[in-house]
Symmetry: C2
Subunit: 251 residues, 2 copies
């Protein structure tokens, strides 16, 4: 399996055609996985909020004061979340797409200072649009994974995760497979979309590397099914961690 | 960056010299990352428990009954954990190495049916021993990451994670770095050891692939510092998720 960056991409702005930019810069192969940082998808779609236009509610001001954060950021996070799972010391929410992360993935990095960057409003849809444009432009069927960098429970540090997919099921199902001794497997659901996102993030980096697109070659995960990143999200009743955090909120 | 499996490894048994087996089968390069499934490290170290010798305590029997699991497995998990964070519907614990996972990483797959497989008792130590043997045997300084497959909060599915390291800091620190607009970064701690583990796990698979060793080339993370996977583990007082789960236990 090899991974390589698509180089010499410019600063992305509203209306930029990411699929065309990729096809112009690299020769894709059938069933490549095209991994794209959500930051540039959001910029191309103008999924941004002008900081100066935000009027923080009383609730946002209070929450920001408690956490030592920016009330305007808190307001945008509230506007982009369906549930605030933890409010202090971090604002952990479920965003409008069902994705759980700190600050709803709203970012202040790699965007002009006057803006907050939102998550793409329909990441699966964005992945599909890019994947289909790539198929049109360079005649190759590719999987597309849109990524973000998120923290996680119990451990310090952040890793690349998938926030939208096209042409690949986020979970690879090993049900019914056997181990080396012929025994049926216990671990049956491998979150390959997140594993690929993490791999690609090693080449994207978090700073000014300027490499928001990584091609993964030699790992055929392609599917022509309708797919969604939501195949990975737990239904709330089945989520013991969320239950615990709810308990903390009400205590 | 390229990743490739070390092929034709036999079924690993107690006393096998994993470093020698790797050097015999592949030509390593300076600062390669050698990624090794904990399953084979545990087998080579006989970090196993004979199922027939386990006498489950009353507590293990009760917990197993509630979860619908094997009391013998529960007993081994209890013996290998310092804290049971969640007891139902899954047994989420902190193991003797400080690693938080379901069932303390105790496994029933890819080992003879009479045994449970434990985690290596000192995964950083095992990684160091292998790394130093590799340096002796083929004269190359390599990083070593020992991996397991774990689940995670909020999302279905499991991914490759690091459980022991040598020659690489698990967290890459971006503090002080600037983004494309010259602004200082918010995300400063990238959990590269887990990202590499996830990448390698795509080639290991979860079943009978027979590929427990993956070489990652072209990503220089090498450090001659003393390192430990514990650089990634949160101190308990700082862990809001554990606080919430404690709340649930006491409610
Ligand atoms: N060429 C180019 N690179 C960008 C742009 N925006 C972000 N990047 C790069 O994309 C990579 C990932 O950026 P990051 O802000 O971490 O994205 P996120 O993980 O989606 O939040 C880094 O290498 C950035 O330097 C852009 O507009 N043009
Ligand atoms: N050649 C060989 N492969 C093994 C052995 N044990 C496990 N594997 C392979 O190593 C990979 C990872 O195994 P897994 O049980 O998921 O390890 P874990 O992630 O450490 O729990 C799979 O491809 C297995 O088939 C062994 O003794 N010999
Ligand atoms: Mn981001
Ligand atoms: Mn990032
Ligand atoms: Mn395991
Ligand atoms: Mn595994």
């Amino acid at each position: 399996m090899e991974l390589f960056t698509v180089d010499d991409l410019p600063l992305i702005k509203e209306g930029d055609n990411i699929a065309a930019m990729i096809c112009e810069r690299t020769q894709l192969e059938s069933h490549d996985v095209v991994v794209i940082a959500s930051t540039i998808v959001a910029k191309s779609e103008a999924a941004t909020v002008l900081k100066g236009a935000i009027i923080p509610s009383e609730r946002a001001v209070a929450m920001a004061k408690k956490c030592g954060t920016d009330p305007a950021l808190v307001q945008v996070v509230l506007d982009n979340s369906v549930e605030q799972i933890v409010e202090f010391p971090v604002l952990l929410v479920e965003n409008l797409n069902g994705h759980v992360s700190i600050n709803a993935g709203i970012d202040d990095s790699n965007v002009e200072d006057e803006y907050f960057l939102e998550m793409p409003h329909d990441p699966d849809g964005s992945a599909k649009a890019i994947g289909m444009h790539v198929a049109d432009l360079c005649g190759k069927d590719v999987s597309v994974i849109i990524t973000d960098t998120n923290g996680r429970s119990f451990k310090i540090g952040q890793t690349g995760v998938a926030v939208g997919v096209y042409g690949v099921h986020p979970i690879k199902n090993w049900r019914g497979e056997k181990d080396l001794f012929g025994k049926v497997l216990e671990i049956t659901e491998e979150a390959v979309a997140d594993e690929v996102a993490s791999a690609a993030n090693l080449l994207m980096g978090e700073a000014a590397g300027g490499t928001p697109v990584v091609i993964v070659r030699g790992l055929d995960l392609y599917s022509s099914d309708d797919v969604s990143v939501k195949e990975m999200y737990r239904r709330e009743g089945e989520d013991i961690i969320r239950k615990g955090l709810k308990c903390l909120r009400h205590s």
